[in-house]
Symmetry: C2
Amino acid sequence: MRPQNHPFQLPNPSQTPIAKQPKSPVMAHEMQPKLNVQIADQLSKIILKTPKGTRDYGPEQMALRLAVLDKIVAVFKKHGAETLDTPVFERKEVLTGKYGEDSKLIYDLKDQGGEILALRYDLTVPFARYLAMGKISSIKRYHVAKVYRRDNPSATRARYREFYQCDFDIAGQYDPMIPDAECIRVISEALRSLDVGPYTIKLNHRSLLDGIFAACGVPSDKFRAVCSAVDKLDKNSWSEVRREMIEEKGLNEANADKIGTYVSLFGGTELISKLRQDDELMKHESAVKGLESVELLFKYCHILRVTDEIIFDLSLARGLDYYTGVIFEATLTGDDVGVGSVAGGGRYDNLVGMFDSKNKSIPCVGLSLGVERIFNVLETKLSERGVKTRTTEVEVFVATAQKNLHEERMKLLSVLWDADVKAEQFYKRNVKLLAQLQYCEESGIPLVVIIGEGELARGEVTLRDVASRAEVSIPRASLIQEIRKRLAS
Amino acid sequence: MRPQNHPFQLPNPSQTPIAKQPKSPVMAHEMQPKLNVQIADQLSKIILKTPKGTRDYGPEQMALRLAVLDKIVAVFKKHGAETLDTPVFERKEVLTGKYGEDSKLIYDLKDQGGEILALRYDLTVPFARYLAMGKISSIKRYHVAKVYRRDNPSATRARYREFYQCDFDIAGQYDPMIPDAECIRVISEALRSLDVGPYTIKLNHRSLLDGIFAACGVPSDKFRAVCSAVDKLDKNSWSEVRREMIEEKGLNEANADKIGTYVSLFGGTELISKLRQDDELMKHESAVKGLESVELLFKYCHILRVTDEIIFDLSLARGLDYYTGVIFEATLTGDDVGVGSVAGGGRYDNLVGMFDSKNKSIPCVGLSLGVERIFNVLETKLSERGVKTRTTEVEVFVATAQKNLHEERMKLLSVLWDADVKAEQFYKRNVKLLAQLQYCEESGIPLVVIIGEGELARGEVTLRDVASRAEVSIPRASLIQEIRKRLAS
């Protein structure tokens, strides 16, 4: 009979903390394969890598990602959103003319006969196509999925060619700024729930920008091009943006400088009052309209208890062509993060109409959380704290103390699985008990059921608590009950 | 002051059951837009449809799909699997030479400069590429994601060009049939948990098939081609398959007929004994080996309590090139389902080696659940039973009984959201109370908080139980507590 206290020497858990990576000879594997390992296959000469700008997500990365996505979806559900899904590719014409200068980044599929297709660039245009196709006049939906952009990848800025977007949109003919303010609240709730540190949500309005451009002498057919230049202020300096406006967009220097004085302004509601006193600006109807909207949005945000984190920022432009009203963007403001925006969105009242045969449009407002950057921030935080993420949910490991008992392990596993206990074993017939116990300590499995010939003869099992290493004998008949009791506590 | 019992006439809930679709003028939308509605845009002439063989999933479809995927993932987790994810596209050379005749169905991306890419055809080849690239020698992983095949779509057979696969695979050098048997158990558990009715899991072995082909006089360089013909027996008649073997694969009639006698055999362990007495067959080492494996697999399946649902079926061949050992496939056997296989898989010991520079291979076995067919079966069942799926999780609707109280609604919503209550309102300033209450009944929201001027003056709200229509006044201070109490019960 096997003694209750195992004779082999395991290191004391208080002295050696759980290893970062399971090292068992049987189950061990590298958790995080190196990105883009290039191995020239001697036979087939295959370069072994993921496509440029993409990567695999290993088990630890996935565990974090799924936890983050779960939290975001919980916020979307709290606000009553349904979910829907669209194909990863669209007919190319659906995407054409929606993204302005960025259209060159769309991934096209090869013409293999039949329709001309392209991968989705965002989740917004497919959503608008869905609304138009189904004649849907109102919906509040979320969509978590990957989108594709042939951008220049930069792992440090978490800029990839394939990345998750988490979108929440409200479509329907509603009263001004009520759904818009809820979108700001959703961004704020999501970022708070993710514990990413302090953040700011910048607000602006496309109509106000148009009014500013008009007041600065920009001809209306150049609004979008100038807007696209202003959008680069989060990455480039004013002098670079000014140069683009003059050399590429054809503005004169005086007009460009006038724009420069506006887009350097930011603040709270006092900035609204200040702009109201700008007679030159207030001559332009779109500026008046935009400013009224921003004022109402601020009011509603305060009612929805989103106050300190919002800022009225005239430099916010957003790159995409389809925005027509309020625009917003969230950035992390902690000392240690330089990751750029983590959420953005705005109102796009005309996009659905671009798909409708009678040009009937559905007003929409929505947001998109850029979770890749959030993943990066959280991964850094976790690794700094030395936190190890469990990648499985195994509750019980079934081990044997002698050889040739693998069929007994399998019998016991069946009993556990039938009782909905998450359980596993090693897939080898004979493994040293020490290796089995070490694996449990390394991978954070809380309980081990050990069977040896003695236990079998007595109709018992040994139940081991992995953390304390305490073992007790219990009759097989009460095993499930005991496991449930221990897991509940 | 507004009376506690509303004067408007709502239909009695016992007489009119909750409508199938919300019809509120504000929130209503079509839940299931028609597939491929073609609308010629008068301006841009855009044909408004999803690409051939793909569709959108609306909110009701998504609710069912997410519930099904959750159940499947729960089974995978019960067996201790980690999850990982790979890009939706791979370098084309990764996919080349892995799928035999089906390679023509791969979606290629357009050459836009840079790498030549193609959409993933399954989750198995990317998994093997991942293992080789990361030098991972053992892992048990699941992967739920969409794959892409330029197949001829058939909605009735639930055959699409974009569809979900749910894969579970065990990679590593283990003892024979222990992980293989667990895969069979996982399929059985998953199908049982989904409540799709009776099912059968067919088992066979590629080595045994090779032995049979050899015994029937097929030259070894034609094994894969003949195997691919046999694979069509689930869709085509024997005479069609026979014709293909003779006319396309170049077998003579006598050999084809000999194969026909074998592939018509199916049964339990008694078939193993019967084949053992076939001296001609037993001359072939691969047949002996295959039969031994099947015998051991049956034994382990019985230990794992998978018994009545498994069947040894010599007609099972599986189309893909990469299988090397046990193969299996599950089909639903209820009267009303003709959906073909709902799960399949097998052992593929050489696939990882195809990516390794030193040809080092990692033995693997795994399964894939074809959930599109399962979705179809469950959707039919639900619609027959008239079951309506809720598409949101909203717990409380905030309504107003008079005009110009929208800011009060928003204040109350903030309180609810801060307390993690799932809550929503209409986004219009003024809506008739009747419309608000009807929306709640139609969409299954359990509670309504109503505020009117009287309630505001008294510091109270009216809490309405949607099902019973009973209303009570409660102080605002105890609202959250009361909501939690009611939702818990």
